[in-house]
Amino acid sequence: MAKRVTAETLSRRQREISVSEFFAKNRHLLGFDSLRKALLTTVKEAVDNSLDACEEAGILPEIWVELEAAEGGNRYVVRVTDNGPGIVRAQAPRIFGQLLYGSKFHSLKQSRGQQGIGISAAAMYGQLTTGKPVSVVSRTGPGSPAYAMQVVIDTNTNKPKAVGRKKLDDWDLDHGTRVELELEAQYLKGRQSVEEFLHQVAVANPHATLHYRDPRGEEAHYVRGVESNPVAPREIKPHPHGVELGVLMKMLQSTEHATIGQCLSRDFSRVSPQMAVGLAKRAGIDPKARPHTVVRKAADKLYQALNDASTRIRPPSTDCLSPIGVQELLAGLTRGIRAEFYAVETRRPAVYRGNPFQVEVGMAWGGDLPADDLAKVLRFANRVPLQYLAGSCCITKAVMDVSWRNYGLTQSRGALPSGPLIVLVHLASVWVPFSSESKVAVADYDEIRKEIKLAVQTCGRRLGRYVKRKARARSEARRREVFNLYIEEVVSSVEAITGKNQKLFRERLLAISRKKTELAGMLEEQDGAADEMEASENVLVVDPDAERLPPPVPAEAERDPGSQLELA
């Protein structure tokens, strides 16, 4: 017989479960389930933080990412530096050393930070695997000195402790933050690598300049393609349709407002005072009742009233979203992908379950892209690349749903199209519905899938027109070639028969040939073709033979010397 364990003993043990244990057991949720993924997640958290911080402060981001192999094998140092607003010294330990601090979970605002568990998780992972604490250097402005510190996490109490604090008299940046940590990791190139992540960040964030150095010392640089930050997203109140019962009850408990009516009309968006009264009455609650007195049963009725089909609540306002934008997306695509044809579409905002969202699609076709591979889908949620679980992602499914043959591409049943194509899909939302806790794939909502499909189709039609015109232009060019070849024979025959030089005759025949094969001109003048094709800002055609776009590694002189930080 096993010894009976008392509840008291159990509760004592439960208390002993430390944050480190929690972390170790939930690695997969946090993105540290493999050595390779740990490296990517760490970089990703740091870069997301940097971008968010810069944008919130209205600074055009410039970010340096450095990876170095550390001693001991399977150990790497990750160093991420930004030109952001810096961190107030007193706050730094909690930001880097306390799990879930400053989490944006409950904010209804489009932000990157929604994706991960935060940089503190990476710091903890580093400390757990190498014993080394995270190092931070930060400076909030030219007027104040930079400081450096190390943040040690007490894994029993989840409390950070700052050690080795010191002032730095001389730091390269006027303002900014550098975080450096060592962790057990594996560095590999290719799919789902740090390189791929940064490349995709560069595409979706054309306003950011990125510098990267891999463990072998190879560098990549992405110079910003647009000179303004995205419009800052506004925070909105929850829409009644997007609120779950538990959240509703919590809101009723914690509201500052005195009555149910006030709570409904002021804590939610799109609920007018009259509507609030009506909703409360329908749930059998006195609109004047105090919100925290509402019992679970009544709350359930209220919840049903809110979601009742007869309750007509206007969709939430959508100005809380910050799409990448047409020109910005084109800039991002062209700086990251060498193609011949680009098309971009930004859909109008839409709503799923009370949550505003907006879909953007970009396409790059031709050029250097491999012609015989399946198309590549780049998925983004709030500008953050999604690199895992492509197959189960709503975005991938929506792209496969489209009949690509209509656009002149080949596609096997139930597969992505094949051809020199990259499809970028960006989902911006105050609340991105992820299909799993690891937040790497978008859940399959009909509204979202439909919006993605429509945007892909719009771009696809533009691509199809271009591809077909190009195919026609090619066949026209072949026709012209044949005509011109034969014209020479015809002219020399007529010259022999008439005994006269027939220069004018020849010119006239060539002129007719040119006119008959007008479309062939498209191959010679790409710009003209684009103009003709569609006077649209959504399309960009790049002459594949002309001077290439600026390569990812720019000339030294092109970098902004003012904010230049040498990679250490």
Binding site: R479, F483, Y486, A496, I497, T498, Q502
Partner: protein
């Protein structure tokens, strides 16, 4: 009509006609019209059988051949290349074979891949196109086909200045040149009662060896299969100038029937030449599908009709000039027998059966069509 504008005046000589064609082409380009040539169609649908003249005549239908049509451009170019080649022959006062013209006109195009002509089978039809378009015969364009066909018999003629006695031609006979116009060939005298055209050269050789022509006073001709234009033109001249009847002796199969009909009424492809080549009085002397029975030929030497034979037989059954009852009966009899007979089958009755018995009897009994 645009096609009228291109019509080439018949009064011009061949050289002027070609020049006319070239100038029209230049004019079209000046008016920004795609240059084209309207070529009289040499197809079944564009021929009619004149019941009165008993020859096949060409209709007015034309086919447009444009430079700026990918399906026609090559042939358009080739038409002008052939015209150019003929110009050169005419200017240099030389005559050459159509094979020579093919070589004169053949070269690789500027792209280094394509040739102006890939073979003589490509240039020959273009020459015929040019003939009908210009309304100028091959001879007028200073061209002739490779010569084919032989003649022996009691006939004396002058060929390019040489007096030739066709009864003294040994076993090979006199070979018929590509051009047999009066400028080259003149008849001097003859002692013949009829002309016998034999499809097969081997049978012709048998008849020659047996001196059939000597015993029966005939001019013995072979065209080695479908007679070339030189042979047909020579037959026409002999029939008209020497006033001799012409008997046609061919295999008993659809191809044999057709050879006879070409000699008699003209061909679809060269319908424009019928009036100077067709011999409506020509007689089909054999082999008839009724001959094997009448002359007791062994079934062993017959050949079963194949699908191609049958469909060709059905085709010619529908030709206007095969509509005569006797012909319908003749062809249907072959179809129902299901066999065909080559001339050589007669040899099964003895090597000289054809000369000693068959032909003399057929002629004596006027057993022909």
């Amino acid at each position: 009509m645009t096609s009228d504008r291109l019509r080439i005046p018949a009064s011009l000589d061949a050289r002027a006609k070609i020049e006319h064609l070239a100038k029209k082409t230049i004019a079209m380009a000046r008016r920004e019209v795609d240059p084209y040539v309207d070529i009289p169609s040499r197809t079944l649908s564009n021929v009619t059988f004149s019941k009165r003249k008993k020859i096949i005549e060409m209709g007015d239908a034309t086919q447009r051949r444009s430079l700026f049509n990918l399906n026609q451009a090559r042939k358009y170019m080739q038409t002008l290349l052939v015209a150019r080649g003929c110009t050169q022959l005419l200017d240099e006062r030389k005559t050459t074979s159509i094979r020579d013209l093919y070589y004169m006109s053949k070269h690789t195009l500027a792209d280094g891949k394509e040739n102006t002509f890939e073979g003589q089978e490509e240039s020959d039809p273009i020459i015929e196109d040019l003939e009908v378009t210009l309304g100028a015969l091959r001879e007028e364009l200073h061209l002739f086909a490779a010569k084919r066909g032989s003649v022996v018999g009691p006939l004396t003629l002058v060929d390019a200045g040489d007096v030739i006695d066709l009864s003294r031609m040994g076993s090979g006979g006199w070979s018929v040149p590509g051009i047999v116009e009066p400028e080259t060939i003149r008849f001097v005298g003859h002692g013949a009662k009829f002309i016998l055209l034999v499809e097969k050269e081997a049978v012709w050789a048998r008849l020659n060896e047996d001196k059939f022509w000597k015993r029966h006073d005939c001019i013995l001709v072979t065209g080695q299969g479908q007679p070339p234009r030189g042979v047909r033109r020579l037959l026409y001249r002999m029939v008209h100038e020497l006033k001799l009847p012409l008997y046609v002796f061919v295999d008993n199969d659809p191809w044999g029937y057709y050879i006879h009909s070409v000699v008699k009424q003209g061909s679809i492809g060269l319908a424009f030449e019928s009036k100077r080549m067709a011999v409506p009085k020509a007689r089909f002397i054999g082999l008839s599908s009724f001959d094997p029975g009448a002359y007791d030929l062994s079934e062993d030497v017959s050949i079963r009709l194949n699908d191609q034979d049958r469909s060709r037989a059905k085709e010619i059954l529908n030709y206007e000039w095969f509509k005569a009852k006797a012909w319908q009966r003749e062809i249907r009899n072959m179809l129902s027998a299901g066999v065909k007979w080559e001339l050589e089958a007669l040899s099964s009755k003895g090597l000289s059966f054809v000369t000693e018995e068959f032909l003399p009897k057929k002629i004596a009994e006027r057993d022909w069509l």
